[in-house]
């Protein structure tokens, strides 16, 4: 057991998700557990299949989706060459995994907690909800472009109160933004926590409303990563003093008022 490590682990299961709607795009990839002491929701891992040729030099970062004593699962959406090859892994294939990396989302069991997910940004919230001692205090809002079946929405909605909105047109987008504004305001007013994960424009919207309404909000950033361990300085963002800090070690989760991106 170790706090953090790099291990070759075997793929245990590759489970396609929402394939009727989006064939060959979303997958749960379950790996042997890399023998960590612990992990916290919001942390991530770097994954690089052992057999990868050298044409892709970096591992790929994924949020920890869920884990138990024997397995670790990530939830991935194919979006480029690396994720395409990871989606094509088969049980028995070996992958190098290093982690758990980065910091995690705040968890205040008694605080009303709003989870704002933009699409695949829902991934870390599965583990968050599982780990939360009082799921009754947690609420999920998912803004999505691809059908709901592609996301673990139902799994999470089984435990916590959840809403979702589909974005198809720019009118939808405006409605989503308005809804987010309303929710963030509501949680600001009740002194709750707002935790967000999603694409950069989504995060900016959260940051803007958090500022406007004075919400205690955290955003999880998705910067391109070379090493995942704080060494390459390729993933930096700016802290509120304008200094470059590594998203992989000082984040990926930042208090919305302590980061510029």
């Amino acid at each position: 057991m170790s706090l953090r490590n790099c291990r070759n682990v075997k793929v245990l299961k590759v489970a396609p998700v929402g394939q009727q709607e989006r064939p060959d795009e979303f997958y749960e990839i379950t790996l042997e557990y890399p023998d960590w002491d612990e992990w916290r929701p919001g942390q991530f891992v770097m994954v690089r299949p052992v057999a990868w040729p050298l044409d892709l030099v970096w591992g790929r970062p994924f949020s920890i989706y869920t884990a138990d004593e024997t397995s670790l699962t990530v939830f991935i959406q194919k979006s480029g060459r690396g994720t395409a090859r990871i989606a094509a892994l088969r049980p028995g294939d070996e992958v190098a995994v290093w982690g758990p990396l980065g910091n995690s989302f705040a968890m205040e069991p008694d605080a009303p907690t709003l989870l704002l997910a933009g699409g695949i940004g829902i991934a870390p919230f599965r583990g968050y909800v599982e780990r939360h001692p009082h799921p009754g205090n947690v609420r999920l809002f998912l803004a999505h472009r691809v059908p709901l079946e592609c996301y673990p929405y139902d799994i999470i909605a089984a435990d916590v109160c959840a809403d979702c909105m589909l974005e198809k047109t720019s009118t939808d987008l405006q409605a989503i933004i308005d809804a987010m504004g309303g929710l963030i305001r509501e949680y600001a007013e009740k002194g709750g926590l707002v935790l967000a994960c999603g694409p950069t424009p989504f995060m900016r919207t959260v940051q803007r409303f958090a500022k406007e309404y004075g919400a205690r909000a955290q955003v999880s950033l998705e910067n391109r990563m070379g090493c995942g361990v704080g060494a390459c300085l390729g993933c930096v963002t700016k802290d509120s003093a304008g200094h470059h800090v590594q998203v992989c070690t000082r984040g990926p989760v930042f208090w919305a008022d302590k980061v510029e991106f």
């Binding site: 170790s2 706090l3 953090r4 490590n5 790099c6 690089r48 050298l54 044409d55 892709l56 030099v57 970096w58 591992g59 190098a96 290093w98 910067n223 391109r224 070379g226 090493c227 995942g228 361990v229 704080g230 060494a231 390459c232 300085l233 390729g234 993933c235 930096v236 963002t237 304008g242 200094h243 470059h244 070690t249």
Partner: protein
């Protein structure tokens, strides 16, 4: 096999070092291996004053390689010697400082600060700063400036070995190598990154905010080997090979052409335990291919009769 190497005033327990800028200050990798297992750690580039580095994005993946334009983001040499060096296991692994400055006087000053530190095993001089006064060509592309910077560092380095890190972006790297040797360098390390660029046809923008960036990784190994081969044959001081090493076989290729040791850069991103594993893998491979010793193998490349 005895993997110990000794050259230019450095004693390393094996020829595996980690390259500047790719291994942080070393501590980042402590969860993934025993730092004391390495031959040496070259810390990330240091300047006199802290530097924020370049704007984002700073890195991009390219075929069998990557581009970076970090811009020597670093907390400054003072922070290094007071806050970081003390927590490094420098008694058990050679810690080399990598010096970055934009004129010879500044280089000298940096060297002076670092020379006073027991924990610093040697100084590696990064001459990649574009010299604004001289029209923007980097120091490392001008032999006269390489000599001048080397002298300036050497003068203030006290008993610390000085290693000059050469750029491949030159017409004739042997001229630069000789300039560094003439300037008093104890050793040379090469190569630094190749100058490269990547663009996105959809956004119509460069993939790196700085536009031009440094290419590293397996893609550049043939260029690096060629440079080491040429330099080994043109100067008498020892050479450390760098560039695209991603396996024990790659590392041995550099020794075969005559490098004393190697530095692993981009491969540290393949997996964070890469350099630790490499130490054992190199030894095993040397045995497998029938090398009698490191000394017997090093530089034993057989060239065809010209």
């Amino acid at each position: 096999m005895d993997m110990h190497v000794s050259f230019g005033g450095l004693n390393l327990k094996n020829p595996v070092m980690t390259a500047s800028g790719t291994f942080g200050f070393g501590l980042e990798f402590a969860p993934y291996g025993d730092l004391k297992k390495l031959g040496g750690i070259v810390a990330k580039g240091l300047s006199l004053k802290p530097r924020e580095g370049n704007p984002m994005p700073r890195i991009a993946e390219t075929p069998c390689g990557m581009l970076n334009a970090i811009g020597i983001q670093n907390p400054g040499v003072e922070h290094f010697v007071t806050q970081i060096l003390p927590s490094l296991p420098w008694r058990d692994v050679a810690v080399l400082a990598n010096l970055y400055a934009c004129d010879a006087a500044e280089f000298g000053e940096l060297a002076g600060v670092l020379a006073a530190e027991e924990g610093v095993a040697a100084l590696e001089v990064n001459v990649s700063c574009p010299n604004v006064k001289e029209g923007g060509v980097a120091f490392g592309q001008d032999p006269a400036q390489i000599a001048r910077v080397t002298e300036a560092v050497k003068k203030r380095a006290g008993s610390k070995p000085v290693m000059v890190k050469l750029s491949p972006n030159v017409t004739d790297i042997t001229v630069c190598a000789r300039a560094a040797a003439d300037g008093g360098a104890d050793a040379l390390s090469l190569i630094n990154t190749l100058s490269g660029m990547a663009v996105d046809i959809r956004t119509r923008r460069p993939r790196i905010a700085n536009v031009i960036a440094g290419l590293s990784g397996p893609a550049i190994k043939p260029v690096a080997l060629r440079c080491v081969h040429q330099v080994v044959r043109s100067v008498d001081i020892p050479v450390v090979g760098i560039g695209g090493i991603a396996s024990a076989e790659d590392a041995l290729e550099f020794l075969l052409v005559g490098a004393q040791a190697v530095q692993v850069g981009t491969a540290n991103f393949l997996r964070p335990d890469f350099a630790f594993n490499l130490v054992d893998q190199m030894e095993a491979l040397l045995t497998e291919i029938g090398a009698k010793s490191l000394d017997e193998f090093r530089g034993s490349l057989q060239l065809p009769l010209a």
